[in-house]
Symmetry: C3
Subunit: 137 residues, 3 copies
């Protein structure tokens, strides 16, 4: 069994930002030299998300608006007793999820033609980290 671990760092200028990280995940899979296996991609914070999406800006805006309506930024959350103002970001992360597993077949990500991996920042302007871990053979 082979394994390979890589970390990505983000520090977005906006509080909320969605970033296509497909290239970076593919680079990690290539480096792992795994033909058959799994690639885990996970945010190391519960105020961010990792998910698989069509690469369409309209859809990304739909997601942003939907989440903002359901768990708005600016509302009073009990979490704010800590001094933080990111209660909404934790609830957004809970819904979209901070992690995915991607199958690797024949040395490549076994995704559909429109599937791209996204990092969803819900509480930016600070350093955030993502872990990519590949195992297989």
């Amino acid at each position: 069994m082979k394994s390979h671990t890589a970390y990505l760092w983000f520090e977005t200028k906006a509080r909320r930002e969605f970033i296509n990280i497909q290239d970076k995940v593919e680079a990690a899979v290539k480096k792992a030299r795994v033909k058959e296996g799994f690639c885990f991609v996970g945010a190391m914070h519960t105020s961010a998300a990792i998910w698989v999406n069509d690469a369409d800006d309209g859809l990304l805006q739909d997601i942003e608006e939907f989440l903002q309506q359901l768990v708005p930024f600016g509302k009073k959350y009990r979490h704010h007793h800590t001094g933080e103002d990111n209660g909404d970001a934790h609830l957004k992360s809970l819904l979209v999820h901070p992690q995915v597993i991607l199958p690797i077949t024949g040395g490549k990500l076994d995704l559909g033609p429109w599937q791209q991996v996204y990092y969803g920042e819900f509480d930016g302007k600070r350093k955030k980290r993502v872990v990519i871990k590949v195992i297989g053979e």
Copy 2:
């Protein structure tokens, strides 16, 4: 380490349909001849979902109604600038998620007695694909 990959194809008659795929997942696990490992099941489209559910039609209707209320079909989504009318399907997929991992113990899916794997179609009447990948030993 052993691995086995299988693909399932769906083309539902209805736009939205929930299909119990437990038998097909179990068949892939059997074929993999893996005693201890993981079985990944993932939709290759972000307008469909894979999840684990009680096999109760009432509950499936609850899920359908809940999702339909939260992200209704027929609403104007920004994604529709592409010519598609499936913005709701992408948001439903985002919430229910397009993938699960299932543990394999002693050569069998290590699930609770009521847990069954479902394919959730949110944008049917077209060919859709699911990938099953087993790794282990």
Copy 3:
């Protein structure tokens, strides 16, 4: 490839309860003697959840209130035709998800400094089970 499987049992006094199970997951990883791999943690019921969260009581209350608002206990669900009264618990589990994968690096869970694993009970006062499965090398 090594593997290790452990089961946790819960029987909460309250219908809904969130329990930090970080220690128990770490104990299973230690016992597995896996340096590089994945740790799966999954509820064996679709009326409970596993997720990764900040260990802050305020945030846990935010999550409880948000879920209770979105899919309230006490509402009539179609699932109740079975005699059960836990339709809300299944919908809560659908949203929060009953499973996570955690990467293992250098023999330890490769999580961010605030990430803790939680068991979310949505239909307690009965025996419930969680499976932890580690694979790797």
